[in-house]
Each structure stands twice: as C-alpha cells, then as structure tokens.
C-alpha cells in the first residue's frame, strides 16, 4: 500500500535504543509485507510484520484455536477482503469459517448477533465503519445492551471490526471516525490498535472476550510494517483490554492518542526531542474502558497534555479525556489547559489539500506542543 511519507523510526518498546532511520528502499520492502530478515542488528529475534498480517494471523490463529470462531463480511472469502485483511483465510478454512455475506450491513450484523446469541463467536467485518451506521441498531440495541437487558441470560461474544476514520481521498461518507460513537455506549468494549503488536494482541483479546467488542482499525495502517517481539508472535499473545501503553516516556508533556494518530505523535515527539522537549506518547489502545489511571499518572508527571484524534471536536475523545482529567487529582497538576487536536468540524472534503487541512498533521502537533509549553516557534 502507501509507504509513510516521512522516514521516521518505529519504536518497538521504550527499553530499546532508538534505531537509525530506515532507507526508503527498506521502507518499501517492509510496507509490502516482506519480512526479509533482520534490519537492525541490535534487535536479535525480532521480526517485521505489517498491520494487515498482524490482523490476518490473529484471526487465523483464533479460528484454528476455537471451533466456534468464524469470520463473516462482504468480500471476505474468495476476494480475500476488500483490503485483503482476510487474505488466504478462506482457502485455508473454507466456507464454514469464512463467509461472504450479501450486501446488507443491517442483515449480516443482525445475523452475526443471532449466531453469537446461539453460542458461536463471530467476527463481523464492516468494510468500513462508515457502513456500520446501516447496522448500528444491531451493534448497540442487539449486541451491547442484551446481556444487561436479559439479566445475564443472553451473551453476545461478538467482535465487530473494520477500518475506521480517514483513508486518503475517499471523502465524507468514507472518512468518519467512530471512536466517540461507540465508546459512548455501556455494554460495548472498544479497542483501537495502532501498530502490528496492538493489532495482534488486541484482536486476539477481543475474540476471546465474552463481551461485544468493536475493533477500530485504520486502512492507512494496514500496509505499514513494524518490528514485533518474539512474544508477539506467540499464539497466545494477548494485550489486556483497558490498558494503555506508553510508547515513548517523557517528562514535559503528555501526547494522548489512539490508532493511526499515535504514529503522528511519535513523529512529532522525535522532532521535538531535537529541541530538548520530551514528549510522553500514550497509546490508549482501548477506548472503552478508558485507562484513566494511565492518563492521570501521565498528566501528573508531565503537567501538560494534548490529545490527538480524527473525531470531530464536539463530543470527541479529547472531550472525554479532558473531563476525566478535571474529575481526577491530575487537575491540580496541570500547568496549562488541555488542548484537544481533532478533525476539522466539517464533513471530510475530498480534495487532497483540503483533506490534509482537515486532519491533525505532525507540524500541527509540534506547534501545539510548543504553544502549550510556551515555547517560541523555531
């Protein structure tokens, strides 16, 4: 798919050294999913995996592990997925485990919920979450609320997954970020992976979870490769739902984000590090339940906070994080108000320059961090 525009490094975890920047050639190789050996000598046993393969391997392993798990969605079987996330699965597992559905989100979401109610564990793929609006009654009224309304009689262990948020040049009806909409509802769990490790661990945890889980991925991340630890490649690698991760520790300001925008925060952090500003990049990983403890701890350490998302400003994730900080002891530790960086308050425009202007960019994050810290622009 598309290679990232800036050749930044991809940190694996905070205990390793930052690797040197990769050449464009190496980046291209990795984007197309060829895990051709180690690129960095200092990370023995580490291998490279793109987000698509991470999701693909997670689904394959879970389907092999549990006979009740199956995948359904539009084009997931023979076509291997609209974004090839289910590549090879149908060939391997057949019609019983990978099912193509007719074009009715309302219909197949309802069907998946019914299958879950009767004892199976479906993975219901929405081609993008924009189309989930046609099925949202089933996600909320049939899945999220049923365990509660049946007083624990009827369980719905289902996973709804698919790309969320903006892609590139697909305009308003294909670009909405549904993080707010879904994390608003009790009864649902909502996760949003950024890198390959997130994708593998969170999707596996979601499939094994007995509650309905919404997994918000991002189309632009599917082709992006990351180094993954040997643990990540284990068949039982799970990331606990409800726990955020500090991607880069820092003392001056907390950058809180989820999904694709964690990557932008990481890039901004690298740029700001050159002028001595240490950003702590907190990857939320789970949006519901939000890891409030991690947010509070980080803000109490750094005293400054910026949130980054692609939801619209009103009632976005930043609004919730701001409220939580105010309600907690972290409020007393703030040296400046929170700034929430969000998508522009317009339906996503199509033209490339307008689309770029409608979403937070690395330069915007850098500028806002400097402003929050009262540093002059360079």
């Amino acid at each position: 798919y598309l290679i990232p525009l800036s050749s930044s490094h991809y940190p694996v975890n905070q205990t390793t050294m930052h690797r040197p920047s990769l050449s464009a050639c190496q980046l291209i190789l990795r984007s197309f999913g060829r895990s051709g050996g180690n690129i960095v000598a200092s990370r023995r046993f580490a291998s490279s995996m793109n987000v698509r393969d991470a999701l693909n391997s997670a689904m394959r392993e879970e389907i092999e592990r549990d006979p009740n798990v199956f995948l359904m969605g539009e084009e997931v079987a023979q076509y291997e997925g609209a974004y090839k996330v289910s590549k090879g699965l149908w060939k391997l597992m057949g019609d019983k485990r990978v099912i193509d559905t007719p074009i009715t989100e309302m219909g197949f979401a309802g069907l998946a919920v019914g299958a879950a109610m009767a004892g199976l564990r479906p993975i219901c793929e929405f081609m993008t979450f924009n189309f989930s609006m046609q099925a949202i009654d089933h996600v909320i009224n049939s899945a999220a609320k049923t365990y509660y309304m049946s007083a624990g009689d009827v369980k719905v262990p289902i996973v709804f997954r698919g790309p969320n948020g903006a892609a590139a040049g697909v305009a308003a009806q294909h670009s909405q970020d549904f993080a707010s909409w879904y994390s608003h509802c009790p009864g649902l769990k909502v996760v949003s992976p950024w890198n390959s490790e997130d994708a593998r661990g969170l999707l596996k945890a979601a499939i094994r979870d007995n509650d309905p889980v919404v997994c918000l991925e991002n189309e632009m991340m599917y082709g992006v490769s990351f180094e993954v630890s040997p643990e990540c490649e284990s068949k039982d690698f799970l990331i606990p739902i409800g726990k955020a991760k500090i991607e880069i520790p820092g003392n001056h300001i907390s950058l809180i984000s989820y999904g694709k925008f964690v990557g932008l925060c990481v890039e901004a952090a690298a740029e700001l590090a050159k002028e001595g500003i240490q950003c702590e990049v907190l990857n939320l990983r789970t949006l519901r339940p939000l890891d409030e403890e991690a947010i509070v701890k980080s803000v109490m350490k750094t005293h400054h906070v910026v949130t980054v998302e692609s939801c619209w400003p009103q009632c976005g994730m930043g609004a919730e994080i701001a409220a939580r900080i105010m309600e907690s002891q972290a409020f007393d530790y703030l040296d400046a108000p929170l700034t929430r960086m969000t998508g522009a308050d317009v339906p996503m425009p199509y033209a490339q320059a307008l689309e770029a202007a409608a979403l937070p960019q690395v330069a915007d994050i850098v500028r806002v961090v400097r402003r929050t810290l009262n540093r002059a622009a360079k």
């Binding site: 009715t104 219909g107 919920v113 109610m117 089933h138 049939s142 007083a151 009827v154």
Partner: protein, 434 residues
C-alpha cells in the same frame, strides 16, 4: 404459432432453421434456454407485465370453520386426535386471555406502567404446541402464548410486569418483554424485526451444531416492511438455515391497516420470491395452525432450509395500553371478530360439538383461572423490587472499576439520603453486587 407448428411437423425444415440461425462456432443456439447466471426459466416473445392484481392470492389453509365444524372434505386434524392436548391448549388460551384482561386493567389503574394483550391471537398457543420445547424462539412482543404453552408459570409473567425482585429481567425491561433461557425464549427486543436476522444467524449456528432443532421467529405484518425482514429471509434461504418464520398478520400495525402496509399479496407471496417454502393459514383455526406448524418443522429439519408461515388473524385488542384503536377502526368491525371469529370461540364450538366441553365447564374453568390469576397477581404486586445496586451489574461480563466506583457512590448517597427516597421501602435492601 402457426409457423412454429408447421416447422414442428417438418423436422427437416426446423433443423435447417436452427442451423441457419445458429450463432458462430461453439456457442449454443440462442432460441433454447436462457444462459444467464442464475436463470431458470425459458424465453418468450409475449410481452406481458405480471400484474399482481390479476392473481387471486395464495389460499388460506383451514380445517375447521367459524361454526366449529370440520370443513367438508377436510382430513381429520392431527390435533383433534388428542383430546388431552386439545383441552390443554384450550385452557391455556383461556388463561392467556384472562391474564391479559387483568394485567391490561391493572395498567389502566396505574399499577403497572405498560401492557400489550394477545386478544384475538391466542391461537399462537397451538402453534407452540407443535414445536419442540428446545426450538429457540425469537419473538416480537405478542407471543406470550408461546411462553405460556411452554410452561412458564403465571407468577413469572406478573413479576416481569411488576419488575419486582423475582423478575427474570431484574427490572431492566418494559412489561411484556419476557425472556427465559429455561424455555428457549430469547428476551423480547423492542426495535421491530431486529429479531429476524438474529433468528437466521441462530439457525445457522444450530445447523453447524447439528442439534436437530430449529429456530422459530415471530413477526408482524408491519415488521415485515423493515429492511431487516428482507435480509433475514434472504440470508436464511441463501445459507440454508433451519428457521421457521411465522408472520402474525393481524390486519394492523398500530393504526396502519394492511392496505397501507403493502400492495402485494400479503407476506406469504414474498416467501417464494426468496426461495422459501411458504404456506398461508387461518390463524384463528387452531387445528390448521397445529398441522401447518408440524409440517413446517419437518420441512425445516429434513431439508435444512427455512419455511414461512403467514397466519392470518385479527388483533382484537388495542396495540398496547398506549393506544386507543377506536380512533381508527369501527366498532362493527371489532364486534364481528369478537363474536364470530377468534381462536377461542372457534375452538370452543368445536370442542362442545365433540362433546368434550360444556357451558358448565366453561364457567367453572374460567372462574378457577381467574381466581388463580388474581391470587398470583396479588402476590406479585406485594413483592419487593430488586436491590437498587443491581442496576450496575450485567453491563459487561465483569464490572469494570469505574462502574464499581459509581455503584459505591450511589449506594453511599442512597444510604445517607434515605429520607429523600421514600420509594426505597418497596425495594430490597441496598447492597453492593458483583
């Protein structure tokens, strides 16, 4: 046509014609069957739009008429060969009717918040009688008769309507939104027709499990207009799911008569369009209903495919306690169905003519049922409501810390300010839950 018949009698010539008009090398001649993917029919040169109004409509299967007589030429119904089952079905219909009357009145008196009756549609009891008790039921909201036939005790209906501590739903559902795992009855969900694709999905799961059971999905004539209904029927057919769809066509969707709901021949005509074996039945004839249900179930399981039953009936009551149907239908219409054509009256006539029932038994049974219902009703009314902290459980499989915190804060608040919450005396004691 003349030319064709001539050609037919002269095989040599017709062969020549075929050769002359044959398309170039390798392709089949184009005057035989259509080759389009999924095509099943033949070509025609006759331009005829199918005018739906020219068709008489799918006939209504009926065995016993309004006077309680077996229709001339009708075979002896299976149900009629089982006197005990007949009487049990009849008494269950009576009990449903009487419970409905009492609970409807209790709403009018402000004792419960809401109710929906099954007046005129008690025949659903006969439909349930023909099912396996483990067949999974997804229903709309007017199918209490199914639960009653499956043996759910009177008090549980009342407890649910009162949302008391014995309520199976722990006070989380409106009245009549029953659910019972023990009776294979999925909790009623308010949004219309959402249960339909769920039923198809559950049937798909049952097919995978090979458990010899089918799924039964009830829905109304109005719900059949929802997009979900279309998807459910189509999926059930394309995925070969053993689900029996039962449409209660009772003439009204709140105030919308069927003449405004659809232009086609009801819901039954849609079944064959989806590739589903379909039958239309007189829903007020319990004998026909029983027969049809048995056959449909057999078909579902032996052929592993869905079936569609449209039961024609009439909604004698208002849509719910929030409705006054005198606003949109005439007293005369109502009174005809009430007096002449509903499941209870018609079965009663049949049973009486068979010598299995009498006026004395009718009076005595009704009295006994009424007494029992009132007794259970009084008990349910007195029971305390659940511990208020139960409001916080079952949102997720495990209560997350933040919700637990909210629960503890609420408990502390209620304990400190009890005097401001006089209704708490009607609730079980406040205590934290898991």
């Amino acid at each position: 046509r003349l030319r064709q018949s001539l050609l037919g009698r002269l095989p040599g010539l017709s062969n020549a014609r075929r050769l002359l008009s044959a398309p170039p090398s390798g392709m089949p001649p184009d005057d035989e069957k259509p080759m389009f993917p999924g095509s099943r029919s033949s070509f025609t040169t006759q331009l005829d739009f199918i005018h739906p109004e020219n068709f008489e409509g799918i006939p209504v299967y009926r065995l016993v008429n309004r006077r309680g007589d077996l229709v001339d030429g009708a075979p002896e119904p299976t149900l009629a060969g089982n006197k005990d089952l007949c009487l049990q079905v009849y008494e269950t219909m009576l009990q449903l009717n009487i419970m409905d009357k009492i609970l409807y009145d209790s709403q009018r008196q402000g004792r419960i918040s809401f109710y929906m009756t099954s007046f005129g549609e008690e025949g659903i009891v006969a439909n349930a009688a023909a099912l396996n008790p483990n067949d999974l039921v997804f229903c709309q909201y007017r199918e209490s008769g199914v639960l009653m036939q499956r043996g759910m005790e009177l008090e549980r209906f009342m407890d649910q309507c009162y949302s008391n501590d014995s309520d199976m739903n722990r006070g989380r559902q409106m009245p009549v939104h029953y659910g019972s795992k023990d009776h294979s009855f999925v909790t009623v969900s308010s949004p219309l027709a959402t249960q339909m694709p769920q039923a198809s999905g559950a049937a798909y799961a049952f097919k995978r499990m090979q458990n010899g059971l089918c799924v039964v999905c009830y829905f109304g004539d109005g719900s059949a207009s929802e997009g979900d209904a279309h998807a459910a029927l189509n999926f059930a057919a394309t995925l070969d799911c053993p689900v029996m769809f039962v449409c209660r066509n009772n003439g009204y969707a709140i105030s919308t008569p069927t003449s405004d709901q659809y232009r086609g021949d009801g819901i039954a005509i849609r079944g064959p369009a989806f590739g589903i074996p379909t039958v239309r039945v007189d829903g007020n004839d319990v004998f026909a209903l029983y027969e049809v249900t048995q056959q449909a179930r057999q078909l579902c399981l032996t052929e592993m495919r869905p079936t569609l039953i449209e039961m024609m009936t009439y909604r004698l009551g208002h849509h719910s306690t929030s409705d006054d149907s005198s606003a949109y239908r005439s007293v005369d219409e109502l009174s005809f169905w009430d007096r002449e054509d509903n499941p209870i009256i018609r079965m009663r006539k049949f049973l009486t003519k068979r010598g299995w029932w009498s006026d004395e038994q009718e009076t005595a049974t009704k009295q006994a049922i009424r007494k029992r219902v009132l007794q259970k009703f009084a008990q349910a009314e007195k029971r305390l409501k659940p511990n208020p902290m139960e409001m916080f459980s079952d949102v997720w499989a495990r209560m997350p810390p933040r919700l637990r915190q909210q629960m503890e804060d609420t408990r502390r608040h209620l304990e400190a300010e009890t005097s401001h919450y006089p209704e708490l005396k009607n609730y079980k004691p406040i205590a934290d839950v898991e």
